[in-house]
C-alpha cells in the first residue's frame, strides 16, 4: 500500500526522529565522555582537549588500576557476592513463590503467609535497628551480611508467583496424576516452563548485587572487605585519595591524571553490567510484563 503523508505528518516524523536521537545522545554522551577521558593522556585532559574521543591514546590509567591491590580484591569480593547472592536469592524466590502461587484450598492460610512477606515491602525497621541485628548476629565484616538480609527479594517473589499462576493448571494436575509430588512438579514442570521469567529475575539479581554499595559500606568495618561498588563509592565519589601513599604509586601518578584514573575505575565498574545487559534486554520485556500486568 502506498501511503501519502501530509506535509505536517512529514514534519512530525522529522521532528520525532530528531527528538529521540537527541534524547538517546543525552543518555549516552556522558558515558562516551568518561570513556574518552579514561583513554587520554594527562596533558590532553589538563588542557581540556578531550570531549568525545580519546586524545593521545594511552591505557596507562587501566594499567595502574589493574596493579592496585585494593581494586582487585574488591572486585573478587563482588564476584563472590554475585555468585552467592544469585544462588541464595533464586533458590528462595522459587521456593517461596511456588507455594504462594497455589490456591487457598491447597495451602492453608495462603493469604496470611503472603502478607507476612508483602508487609516487609511496606514497613521496615529502619537503618539503625537493621544494623544492630546484623551486628548481634556477628555478621559484620562477613560476606553473609551482604547476602542474607536481602535473601528473600519479595518483589521478585511476586513477579514469579504471578508468572507461575499464569501457567496452565492442567500441567501440574497431570503431573500429579502421573505420581509426581510438589517437589518434582516444581523442578521438572514449573521451573523449565518459567525460564523467560527466571532469566529476567536472575539478571536483575546479578545487576542488583553487583551495583549494591551501601550495605558493603556500613557492614564492613575494614575497607579490605569492601565489594567493588562500595570501594568505588569511597574512591570515586567521595574522592578518598589516602590510599595512594606509597612512593612508586606517587611517581606513577605524576604522569597520570586523577580524572583519567577515576574514569577508568568507573568504566571498569560498569563493564560487567554493560556485558550482561544485552542478554537481559532480550528477556525483560516479556518477563516483567507477563509477571506484572494482570487481566
Amino acid at each position: 500500500m502506498v501511503q501519502h503523508y501530509s506535509w505536517s505528518r512529514k514534519m512530525f516524523v522529522v521532528f520525532n526522529y530528531s527528538i529521540l536521537a537527541i534524547v538517546s545522545l543525552i543518555c549516552i554522551l556522558p558515558l562516551v565522555n568518561v570513556l574518552a577521558i579514561s583513554f587520554s593522556s594527562a596533558a590532553a585532559i589538563e588542557g581540556g582537549r578531550v570531549s568525545l574521543w580519546p586524545v593521545e591514546f594511552t591505557t596507562r590509567a587501566y594499567t595502574f588500576v589493574a596493579s592496585k591491590k585494593e581494586f582487585l580484591t574488591s572486585m573478587g569480593i563482588s564476584v563472590q557476592r554475585v555468585l552467592l547472592g544469585v544462588i541464595v536469592n533464586m533458590t528462595l524466590t522459587i521456593l517461596t513463590a511456588y507455594p504462594l502461587s497455589k490456591e487457598a484450598a491447597q495451602l492453608k492460610f495462603r493469604t496470611g503467609y503472603a502478607w507476612v512477606f508483602v508487609f516487609t515491602m511496606l514497613f521496615t525497621g529502619g537503618l539503625i535497628p537493621t544494623y544492630m541485628v546484623i551486628r548481634e548476629l556477628g555478621m559484620i565484616d562477613s560476606l553473609w551480611s551482604l547476602v542474607l538480609p536481602g535473601a528473600v527479594p519479595v518483589f521478585n517473589v511476586i513477579l514469579m508467583l504471578n508468572f507461575f499462576r499464569n501457567l496452565p493448571k492442567e500441567l501440574s494436575e497431570s503431573a500429579f496424576i502421573d505420581g509426581a509430588g510438589h517437589w518434582k512438579t516444581l523442578w521438572k514442570i514449573i521451573v523449565p516452563l518459567s525460564m523467560p521469567s527466571i532469566a529476567t529475575v536472575m539478571l536483575f539479581t546479578i545487576v542488583g548485587h553487583w551495583n549494591e554499595w551501601f550495605n558493603g559500606l556500613i557492614y564492613m568495618n575494614d575497607p579490605i572487605h569492601y565489594p567493588l561498588a562500595s570501594y568505588l563509592q569511597t574512591i570515586v565519589v567521595k574522592m578518598d585519595m589516602t590510599q595512594l601513599n606509597d612512593p612508586t604509586a606517587l611517581k606513577f601518578l605524576s604522569e597520570l591524571n586523577d580524572r583519567a584514573l577515576r574514569a577508568a575505575q568507573i568504566f571498569l565498574g560498569m563493564l560487567p553490567v554493560l556485558c550482561v545487559y544485552p542478554f537481559l534486554q532480550r528477556y525483560f520485556m516479556s518477563g516483567i510484563v507477563l509477571g506484572s500486568v494482570k487481566e
Binding site: 516524523v13 526522529y17 556522558p30 521456593l95 503467609y113 529502619g126 535473601a151 580524572r259
Partner: protein
C-alpha cells in the same frame, strides 16, 4: 517449602522491627535494649524542636513530588513518540540506549555526573561556555541542586519507565485504529482519541502507586551527589537519619526519625494501594 524464606524474613525483616524500641529509649550500645533508660517520646519532641527537621522534611516532599511528576510524564511522552517510529532498527537502538542508565548504580552515575557537571573541567559547562552562557556549579549550588537531582533521576529512569507504557499501548485493540482510519482519523487524531484514552488506566495506576513514595526522595542518589554546601535544599530524611545515626552516633534520635518516616510511608502506601485497587482494579498478588 515456605520455611526457609519465612525464617529469613522473620530474622532480617521482623527482627529489626523489635529494634524500633530504641526510638523510645536513651540507647547506650553497651547496655543493650533491655538495659537502656526508657525515655518515651523524648526523641520525637527533640527532633520536632530542631529547626533543620522541617527543612529536611520539606526537601524530601518537594524533591520526591517533582520526581513523581517528572517520572510520570517523561516516559509517557517518550513512549508515545517511540510508538510513532516506523523503522524497527532505529526504534530498537533508541530503546537499548535509553533503558541502559537504569542498570547503572547511582555510584557509577554519580562518578560520571561529578565529572561531567564539574564547574571547571566538566563537558557540560564547557558546552555552556561555548554557547556563551555562564557556567553553573550544578552540584554545589543549593538553588540548582534539587533540579539537578530531579533531572538526573529522570535521565536515569525515564527509558525504563517507557516499557510499561509501550506494553499498555501494545495491548490496545487494533480494531479501534482500523475503525478510526475508516472514519478518516489521522495519526494525531488516533493518538488523541485512542492511544491516550487507552493508557489512562495505567497512568492512573502509576500515579496512585507513586503517592506512596512521597517520602522516598532517593537515598542512593542524594547520598552520592550531595555535599555540605547543598544540605539546605538537598538533605532528605534518609540521608539525615544516616548522618545523625551512624555519623553522630545518636541511635535513639535517628531511629525516631526513621520510625516517623516508616509509619507515614506505610500509611501513604496503604492508601495508594487501596486507591489503585479501587480505581484500576490493581492487586499485588
Amino acid at each position: 517449602m515456605l520455611l526457609p524464606g519465612l525464617i529469613l524474613v522473620l530474622l532480617f525483616c521482623y527482627g529489626p522491627m523489635a529494634g524500633i524500641l530504641i526510638a523510645f529509649q536513651n540507647y547506650i550500645p553497651v547496655k543493650g535494649i533491655t538495659g537502656s533508660e526508657w525515655v518515651g517520646l523524648e526523641h520525637f519532641r527533640y527532633v520536632y524542636s530542631l529547626p533543620e527537621t522541617m527543612t529536611v522534611f520539606r526537601n524530601t516532599v518537594v524533591i520526591a513530588s517533582m520526581k513523581i511528576v517528572g517520572g510520570l510524564f517523561a516516559p509517557l511522552i517518550t513512549a508515545l513518540l517511540l510508538n510513532e517510529i516506523g523503522k524497527r532498527l532505529f526504534k530498537r537502538s533508541v530503546q537499548t540506549i535509553i533503558y541502559m542508565p537504569h542498570f547503572l548504580s547511582w555510584v557509577i552515575m554519580a562518578g560520571i555526573l561529578l565529572d561531567v557537571l564539574s564547574p571547571t573541567t566538566g563537558i557540560v559547562n564547557a558546552f555552556l561556555d561555548w554557547l556563551g552562557i555562564t557556567k553553573v556549579f550544578f552540584l554545589g549550588n543549593a538553588d540548582w541542586f534539587p533540579y539537578v537531582l530531579v533531572g538526573t533521576d529522570i535521565l536515569k529512569e525515564f527509558g525504563f519507565g517507557t516499557i510499561v507504557y509501550l506494553a499498555a499501548i501494545t495491548g490496545i485493540n487494533p480494531a479501534l485504529y482500523e475503525a478510526a482510519v475508516l472514519d478518516g482519523a489521522n495519526r494525531w487524531k488516533q493518538t488523541l482519541h485512542i492511544t491516550i484514552p487507552g493508557i489512562v488506566p495505567i497512568i492512573v495506576l502509576l500515579l496512585t502507586l507513586g503517592l506512596g513514595n512521597v517520602l522516598n526522595a532517593g537515598f542512593d542518589q542524594v547520598f552520592n551527589l550531595y555535599s555540605p554546601s547543598v544540605y539546605s535544599t538537598g538533605d532528605i530524611l534518609d540521608t539525615y537519619v544516616y548522618r545523625i545515626g551512624l555519623g553522630n552516633g545518636q541511635y535513639g534520635v535517628a531511629t525516631a526519625v526513621g520510625l516517623f518516616k516508616s509509619v507515614i510511608s506505610l500509611v501513604l502506601i496503604s492508601v495508594s494501594y487501596l486507591l489503585a485497587y479501587r480505581l484500576a482494579n490493581y492487586r499485588i498478588f
